[in-house]
């Protein structure tokens, strides 16, 4: 059988990747292109007519201060959350790979928050912030805790960050654990013989060798933080007075509550481009720093 003809290659491709290509096209690529088309219309989300308005939605989106404010808030939220998630995840990963007792139990324990859906998580933490913290605050007479954090502007953003860190640190920890495990014992041992202390071997041996873990974790946490909606919805729902509305929620409200589907879609597209640029830059910079053992 000839294996280098075009027909054979096409057949082979269709046989092994045809179905997945079809599904990928129909659930990702086509809706994406259709979504881009909708940004050029002033569709309200239900009507049969989709009047073509050119670039008007983008002009409206660029002039929408509420959108840029929410985007600014998302930047602050993502910046702090990403740093905290990765710092905590790295420390946890180091601890559960340093051969402490019950490390498997701890690994499972730290990972579990990630198994709870964001909506449920938000409601649970809402109770914790509103009731448990306040009760503790009243008991110990602390002014910092005696009124709910969720009712203040800075407090509600802090709550969002705390919950996100709690949710994602365990997941990122697993990736860092894999990174720690992939660093060969030989290299560590060689460093030890050469007189390397514990912290030196982490900074100069382990960390450079697990750059790919950092790239992955940063990418995942950055994109997730930029796209967050579920926790935002169930924990704060934008309260107090709309000061905790993050970009995804702003886009959703614009499209479905304010019924400006085209404008919402345009704002979503801008958010996507920003995410893609940041994610791409970060992966590119990270890959450059990777070293071979």
């Amino acid at each position: 059988m000839k294996t280098n003809t075009l027909g054979y290659k096409v057949r082979q491709y269709l046989l092994f990747a045809g179905v997945s290509t079809f599904i990928f096209l129909s659930v990702v690529i086509i809706p994406f292109i259709y979504g881009i088309y909708l940004t050029f219309t002033s569709w309200d989300g239900v009507s049969k007519e989709k009047p073509f308005v050119g670039l008007e939605n983008f002009i409206l989106a660029f002039n929408d201060t509420a959108y840029w404010q929410s985007l600014g808030r998302t930047f602050i939220y993502a910046f702090i959350a990403v740093i905290l998630i990765n710092t905590l995840a790295f420390i946890l990963a180091f601890m559960v790979t340093s051969k402490i007792k019950g490390q498997n139990f701890f690994r499972a324990g730290f990972f579990i928050p990630n198994l709870i859906g964001g909506i449920v998580l938000g409601y649970v933490w809402k109770f914790v912030f509103n009731k448990a913290f306040v009760a503790v605050g009243e008991a110990i007479n602390s002014p910092l805790l005696s009124s709910s954090w969720l009712s203040t502007e800075i407090g509600s953003m802090a709550c969002l960050i705390i919950v996100s860190v709690w949710q994602y640190a365990g997941y990122m920890m697993l990736i860092y654990v894999a990174g720690f495990m992939s660093v060969s014992e030989d290299v560590i041992e060689a460093a030890k013989i050469d007189g390397c202390t514990g912290s030196q071997s982490i900074i100069h041996i382990s960390v450079p060798l697990m750059t790919s873990s950092f790239v992955q974790c940063l990418f995942l946490s950055i994109t997730r933080c930029f796209m967050v909606y579920d926790v935002n919805f169930s924990l704060t729902n934008g309260n107090p007075y709309g000061t905790s509305v993050l970009a995804a929620m702003q886009v959703y409200n614009e499209a479905f509550i304010n019924k400006n589907y085209g404008k919402g879609q345009a704002e979503a597209l801008i958010l996507f481009v920003i995410c893609a640029i940041i994610g791409g830059l970060q992966v590119w910079a990270g890959k450059k720093g990777e070293v071979e053992a």
Binding site: L15, F16, G18, V19, D44, G45, V46, S47, K48, N130, S147, S148, L150, S151, F233, G238, N239, P240, Y241, G242, N253, F256, I257, N258, K259, N260
Partner: protein, 444 residues
């Protein structure tokens, strides 16, 4: 070679299984279209057997009642009714748009008044010739055609817990004695002196603040439409408006006695409702739909709704705000057959004219009927209040043409901030005026 055959076989098996899995949905859809076409051919014989209609219920608290009704309805009429429960996380309009986009609309959809206006032209059947039209003044007519069937009447005002008040004052509570803000404030002070430290609860949800409380500012104007259009055109002023100031005077009083003062923007609906039901607070701004939350707690039957007290003497402090709140529309697209449409109309008639239908509406769902021929004596306390005001023609009509983002901007960003005392009344008035200047009007 053997290996190759084996791998080929396995790959084929996988593809087949995937196609088969994908097909279940496809065949499901094909099944419904089949149904439609058979229904359409049967239409000639005007048979209602084997007709199936779908209903979207967006009053989630009565979903069980709807499902039980569907079974009973099938038994008595032979028409199969499939009831879908609306998703509360998103708007009804967005759920409908998904179904329209997939050419599989609900035969009957329960929507908000606003949605009737936006859907009428493309998706709603003309119901003008139905018999029930003459029994209600709450049906929605768009471009000369009756498009919306009023499912129920809902109204808002201040919900009171009479037991809680009477246990402190020792007198029978008569809400009409407290129509003015002065008398209402005096009563609040008496409650405080009697040991109820904070007698008021205010919901912090943006729909309550924006679509319910702030909305009354427009609805109680002499000509709401002219006032809102004036705001949109930038020619009306808020800060000098008597109604705005009157409503905000009352709001200030409510804020002063709010149990959640200090973290008011974060008050929890469940907690507020529990406090009202159990008499820890005496008043809460809300509507008769709140009964479904209140009755989850250790409640008293001795409750009701009273108008928002105001000092302004324009008679509005003797009326509740409200009207038809949920509307049925019957799908007019080709995806619904004539037989289904007829079955849907029959269903609406059943609600209005059959004893079983009446009982379903008023006794099982405990909804206030919008039709003058339906007797409703088994309603919950709040709905009884609403019915009394509705029967006495004491309802201020809902204003259905506020811009779509009114709820999130005025409700959440402004009213909630004012509720939390982080904004002065002048700032609020100015911000509302500014908001309206940039808002997109609703065509009507």
């Amino acid at each position: 070679m053997k290996k190759k055959v084996l791998s080929l076989l396995m790959a084929t098996a996988m593809v087949v299984s995937m196609v088969a899995c994908g097909n279940t949905e496809g065949s499901g859809a094909a099944g419904t279209t089949d149904n439609n076409s058979t229904a359409a051919t049967e239409d000639a014989g005007a048979s209602t057997d084997d007709v199936k209609i779908t209903i979207l219920n967006s009053k989630v608290e009565v979903q069980t009642q709807f499902e039980e009704m569907a079974e009973a309805y099938k038994e008595s009429t032979g028409v199969e009714v499939e009831v879908y429960c609306a998703d509360t996380d998103t708007t009804v309009a967005s759920q409908l748009s998904t179904r329209y986009a997939s050419n599989d609309p609900y035969t009957i959809a329960m929507v908000d008044p606003k949605d009737v206006y936006s859907l009428a032209a493309d998706y709603a059947t003309d119901l003008s010739n139905e018999e029930w039209v003459s029994h209600t003044n709450l049906a929605i007519t768009v471009d000369g055609k009756v498009a919306g069937f009023p499912t129920c009447v809902e109204a808002r005002g201040i919900i009171y817990n009479a037991d809680a008040i009477e246990s402190i004052t020792g007198e029978t509570f008569n809400p009409t004695d407290y129509a003015t803000l002065d008398s209402f404030t005096a009563l609040l002070d008496r409650l405080v002196a009697g040991g109820m430290e904070k007698p008021v609860a205010i919901l912090s949800e943006y729909w309550s603040l924006g679509a319910h409380y702030a909305a009354e500012i427009y609805e109680q104007q002499a000509d709401p439409d002219a006032f809102v259009n004036g705001l949109l055109a930038g020619s009306e002023d808020m800060a000098s408006n008597a109604k705005f100031n009157s409503m905000m005077d009352t709001f200030d009083t409510l804020i002063k006695y709010n149990y959640a003062k200090g973290s008011a923007a974060n008050a929890d609906r469940e907690e507020s409702s529990m406090k009202l039901a159990e008499g820890e607070v005496a008043f809460m701004f809300g509507g008769n739909w709140d009964w479904s939350v209140l009755n989850q707690y250790d409640y008293t039957e001795n409750m009701g709704i009273m108008p928002v007290p105001q000092n302004m003497e324009d008679g509005m402090n003797t009326k509740l705000c409200g009207g038809g709140s949920k509307y049925f529309i019957v799908d007019s697209t080709d995806n619904t057959s004539e037989a289904q449409r007829q079955a849907a109309k029959d269903f609406l008639n059943w609600i209005v004219f059959e004893a079983d239908g009446n009982a379903f509406l008023t006794e099982q769902c405990l909804l206030v009927p919008a039709f003058d021929n339906i007797d409703a004596s088994a309603l919950d306390p709040l709905s009884s209040s609403v019915k009394a005001y509705a029967d006495g023609n004491n309802l201020i009509a809902n204003y259905n043409y506020l811009p779509d983002d009114h709820m999130t901007v005025v409700g959440q960003e402004l009213m909630q901030k004012y509720l939390d005392e982080k904004m002065t009344r002048d700032e609020l008035a100015q911000a509302m005026v500014d908001y309206f200047k940039g808002a997109t009007p609703i065509a009507h």
